[in-house]
Symmetry: C2
Subunit: 193 residues, 2 copies
């Protein structure tokens, strides 16, 4: 399988672009750190699942992994707690300017988000259109409804304009997505509108 977001190959060395500030994962991690530092929410990125096959064990009880492989994650990348609610989401970026290819999200991740929603959690995806410099939050229900009602293999950007929420980018937090979650919660708790 492919290597995780933010990791790129260069002369067989690993370059982690997440420190450049243009990376979605980095922006979300920084935002989550901000939320934790202000005691607002405790949301973490799950570690990338890696299958370890060879380890060099040492006497000092440290050990070096000598062979391992990236595995496909069985859930989404981010989860945690906000205002007592279970929060769960996946974040992806695309170079496409007109649509978000659904191939970016695994089927079992969509199934996972459906399970979360059915059990009272708050699920969504965060999609960054790199070349437009726009990042949208799309709620679970709107994601599922697109998939069920469309044959298309990608979500056109118009759907994000209509149903998604543009996340404002700032300095700190860089990507204040919980502001949008607050809007859902208000609707959820006050009934319709």
């Amino acid at each position: 399988m492919n290597y995780p977001m933010g990791i790129k190959k260069y002369n067989n060395q690993i370059i982690n672009y997440s420190h450049r500030g243009m990376n979605l994962e980095d922006d979300i991690n920084q935002t989550n750190e901000y939320y934790r530092s202000k005691d607002i929410a405790y949301i973490y990125k799950k570690p990338t699942p890696i299958k370890v096959t060879k380890v060099d064990f040492r006497k000092d009880r440290t050990s070096t992994i000598k062979e391992a492989f990236y595995e496909e994650p069985s859930t989404t990348d981010y989860n945690g707690i906000y205002k007592g609610y279970y929060i769960d989401f996946e974040a992806k970026q695309t170079k496409n300017k007109t649509a978000f290819p659904l191939a970016n999200i695994h089927k079992h991740q969509i199934k996972h988000l459906k399970n979360i929603t059915r059990h009272g959690g708050i699920g969504f995806i965060v999609v960054r259109f790199d070349l437009l410099n726009e990042t949208y939050l799309l709620k679970d229900d709107d994601l599922f409804s697109f998939i069920e009602n469309n044959e298309r293999k990608s979500i056109p950007i118009k759907y994000f304009h209509d149903k998604g929420y543009l996340i404002k980018e700032g300095y700190n937090p860089r990507l204040d997505y919980l502001k949008i979650v607050d809007e859902f919660l208000e609707v959820k708790n006050n009934g319709k509108n």
Copy 2:
């Protein structure tokens, strides 16, 4: 740092004892699978955090990790959703027969559990006394209260008898800990009693 629970060294090969059925992690994973298969709860073990330092990239876009190191987890091992509640816990086993050494749980994991509790989540630890073949669930508040009121570096088994809940072991699910969480929820939702 030490290698994760269930992984043991034998002639520099990795032996995963989690398939023997005597391993706590294995029992919890099997129980969580059972909960998922019955649509009861969606609780997962987080992958072990690993810092990758060398990767062999191939043309077919697969890649082999050639050097990596185990990192210390910043949160607990398990989290997920049950009946709309955010669930978070750490699981540990000990060969000690009379007490659970607190060194088994990192300070930042206890801080994490405190954050979760303060924000309305349900946090606890699961402790297996290997040689007694007994597994207890200890609620967040009872864990914090012991730590705050005691100088001791380990929790005596009497405290588990008094404040903890013995988890019944079965065939499927092997360790039905959500039955105990149901008791908390009843108390939480019906007030005292």
